[in-house]
Amino acid sequence: MALILFYITSAVAIFATVMMITRLNAVHGLLYLILSLLAVGVIFFLLGAQFAAVLEVIIYAGAIMVLFVFVIMMLNQGQTTIDQERTWLQPRIWIGPCLLALILLVELMAIIVIGGNAETGHLVDSKQVGVALYGPYLLAVELATMLLLAGLVGAYHLGKPMLKIKNPGENNE
């Protein structure tokens, strides 16, 4: 059963990615990108990596996508945005991502209803990951924190001059 689920989920992931890179509008592409990330998260679950699956949904499909939505919202301002959003929210735009999300939901429901463990391979739970993360990989964790700090400082540095320009202007958020 896991193999069938894997095939369906892979088809969803590949289809969503193809639709993402062929959309002309960034927001439409973003919808399909979220579906692609969610499908990869289901594949992580099927492979027995639940911790990575949870992180995929929370951080990739949650936090990073919120950043994209935020920037797209910041770049579109003014009265034309309202008309633009009205055209964005036509049913034929979001019916595709909704169908793909429905397929993933049906898969999860099938796993829950059938019961047992649908995941295959070797189950690597979060305890093993945590023990290894703070054991032999401690230096890598330190490096990751330095990288995140550098990213934070870089993003602040890149965003600061723009705020300074905008503040004397008519409206700042």
Partner: protein, 102 residues
């Protein structure tokens, strides 16, 4: 319970990576380029998870965690750059940033 073959997982990862690469090469919108980069990073993470699941080790998931932090830092800086380019050139076209004489 039949296992998922490792070759299929790696094949899916390769297909997703190539799709992301095509997106980076074909699209000229900076936001779309960053989204395609996310797909590529995600595909490499999938390859690590498949290998970790195959050998039953936690190293694959740890590599995925490191890729996740890399993606978060990359997207923060990249979107900051996209905002800067939009405010200077008033467009998101990647070809508009061609003033550097290299």
């Amino acid at each position: 319970m039949n296992d998922i073959p490792m070759e299929l997982g790696l094949l899916l990862s390769a297909v997703l990576f190539v799709l992301g690469l095509i997106g980076v090469l074909v699209r000229r919108n900076l936001i779309m380029i960053l989204m395609s980069l996310e797909v590529m990073l995600n595909a490499t993470g999938l390859a690590f998870i498949v290998a970790g699941s195959r050998w039953g080790q936690a190293d694959g998931q740890i590599m995925f965690l490191l890729i996740l932090t890399l993606a978060a830092a990359e997207v923060g800086v990249g979107l900051g750059l996209a905002l800067q380019i939009f405010h200077r050139f008033n467009t998101l076209d990647a070809d508009s940033v061609s003033e550097m004489k290299g």
